[in-house]
Amino acid sequence: MAAVGRAALVLALLTTLFGIGASLYGARRSRREWVDAGRRSVYALFAILSVAFVILEVAFVVNDFAFNTVAGNSSLTTPLLYRVAAMWGSQEGSLLLWVWLLSAWSSLAVFLTRNRLREIVPYAVSVQLGFGAFFTMLLVFFASPFSLTSPAPVNGAGLDPLLRNPSMMIHPPMLYSGYTFFTIPFAFAVGALITRRVDAEWIAVTRRFALASWLFLGVGILLGARWAYYEIGWGGYWGWDAVENAALMPWLLSTAFLHSIMIQEKRGMLKIWNASLVLAASTMAIVGTFLVRSGVLNSIHAFGASTLGVPFVILIAVMVAGSIYLVISRRDVLRSEHQLDSLFSREAAFMLNNMLLVGLTFVIFWGTFFPLISGALTGTESEVGAPWFNRYTVPLALVLVLLAGIGPVIPWRRASLANARRNFATPIVASAAMLLAAFTIVPISSSPSTIVLFCAAVFVFASVGQEFVRGWRVRRATSADSRSVAALSMIRRNRRRYGGYIVHVGIAVLFIGVAASATFQRSHYVELRPGRSDVVAGFKMTEQRPTAAIVTDPTSTGALLTLGAVIRVSRAGHYVGTLHPTAQFFADPSGAEGPVGSLLGGTSVSELSLDSSLRRDLSAALDAPSLQARLQSEINRANALVNADKAGAQSRLDLSYVLLAAIVHGYLRHTPEAQFKLTSSPLVLWLWLGALVVFAGGLVAIWPSGATRRVRARYFARVAQELGRA
């Protein structure tokens, strides 16, 4: 089947090249049939890549170790769930997933625009297929997922244990969906600039695609953060890692675009800025992909050094140079139609929001690439850490949260002082009340920025809440709807406005979680054994008993040995909860640790145990390496016993398992001290809930409008009336 897979990739490459040629020829010569053939090439690309995708996926599922990719990233002991996901644990497999998702979303875009943007679509299809050609070329010439080894090994190396998490099933596909979706607004922007059609129809289509890519990438980032939170050693939910930052940058730029495109839509302003933003956001998405693939920066998420860096640099250079050329050469059609009426208007607030978001992106870009910049200037690669990022991003984030509350209550064009007083009174009073409450709970000196953020978040809740209530009253006054129907129909009739407001509330909730957990988190590293306790943030954590599972693998990750502890949590004598932290040990296929040591000498993973509530997360993690070190003398003795056994290989293996069981038995009877990380993090759940609210708002905003022939007819009549008077 590998030959079929290779042939599919070659066919895919030929299809992209044909599609690019057909689309461009059809567009230049106004030959509709060639344009249609180009569009069909996108659907064909999806079908061909689906064949390649299925072949590789089946190879993983049936353990076909003749495939180098399968042998390098899966094994007989890898559970089925993770064999399915192991495909994107490899460079080649994840590249195939990337281009397959690209072809899927491109097909969707081509289908949705089949009767729209007729001049733009051929160029957009060419750009989309250009991306497809690039990634298919990488798979054909640089990183084939269908390369074979003969004879096939009996077993594979297995999937990295850190990747054996249910998030592995969904986080990479969501993140790649976000990245690949970003190529669609890019393609339509290029098409619009080439054909000089940066009009209302282009805005309507591009905004929807930009919102979809924003949504997908956001969900991907969130799932990654949640995964990191549960895998101890990854530094919490956000570590300012290069690859995390690479996903955040296009998301921030597209957030800016989604705001500023409204100014273009309503006022015909900022056209150059918007074209540049959408092109830059998509280019940053490719930069993110480059960082993961090239190994140019150190990251826990990256695939390590590879030969893919140069092709990616060329692609990024072409995107940047082409974007700059298009924006400059089309500046005549990108001229603003109006000027800013007032500095106190929604346009002005959106412009400030854009400056902050772009500034934030620049700070993150600088910090992420600082190792390369410093290496080029001084010869020594230096990294900036989390404190550096926090120093610059926290003030910007504070103002952004505040703007999320200001934007909804000021009108387009201009706001009067009297109306401003009326609209800002409630949010200001609410934030002042929050400030007073904060003084009574925590000392201001403990973290002024956190308290300011709480006040800004309350400002958002009050201003958005006020908007919902007023909108609902208007709806009630102008319709015969009941209270609940009026609330729903208010949102349904103006999904973009109210979806956006919901996103703002979600952002405020999310930042409350981030600020509280970052400021007030308390962690202890302690040595515990059964019966011993420690106190963290007023919570007494007592190890009650050790736990162990050999071969049975309670977490279904393929771990050969799982050691753990049961920890009782109490406060002031009252029971709060029970935690079950574990350390998973995976076999070392090289056998370098000796016959018994190799059964648990591979990667070890600490699995966090969490008691989560709206007020706080209490967690315990067992340090796997230190525990393994404490068992090392028993392991050495067991190794010596097996080495002394002159029986056959099977007998030695059986003896190794027996001795491992004896070591585990000893661990349960005479449990050594083990190192635990005990943590109390306030309001972390708010972060996840806030993110869910953000995505719910995004869904409301992106949902196709059911509006509203009735409403439209009414407006037709009104405008016709005006026409009659004119």
């Binding site: 044909f18 053939a37 129809e201 405008v719």
Partner: protein
């Protein structure tokens, strides 16, 4: 095995050529061209209607004074009328 792979590839190639090349074999079967200028104006008209509604909602929710609302509303309706006139010209 090699023969089977070759046959599969040839069949796939034939199907691809048939599917992708269908519009080239029968050019008249393509969808009718839609006037892009009209589509752009219709999109502009819809956006303008939305803007009029937004302005009304801003007024009713207390974000605009009477005078500001009337000025902006008049301006937006004039712009909508101009778009309708351009649409009429295309007919």
């Amino acid at each position: 095995m090699l023969v089977a792979v070759l046959v599969a590839v040839v069949v796939a190639l034939a199907f691809l050529t048939w599917f992708v090349g269908a519009p080239l074999r029968n050019p008249s079967a393509g969808e009718p061209a839609i006037d892009s200028r009209r589509r752009a104006l219709e999109a502009a008209r819809d956006a303008k209607y939305q803007e009029i509604r937004d302005n009304e909602l801003d007024y009713r929710t207390g974000k605009l004074s009477d005078e500001d609302f009337r000025t902006i509303d008049r301006q937006l309706r004039a712009e909508a009328v101009e778009i309708l006139r351009l649409l009429d010209d295309l007919r």
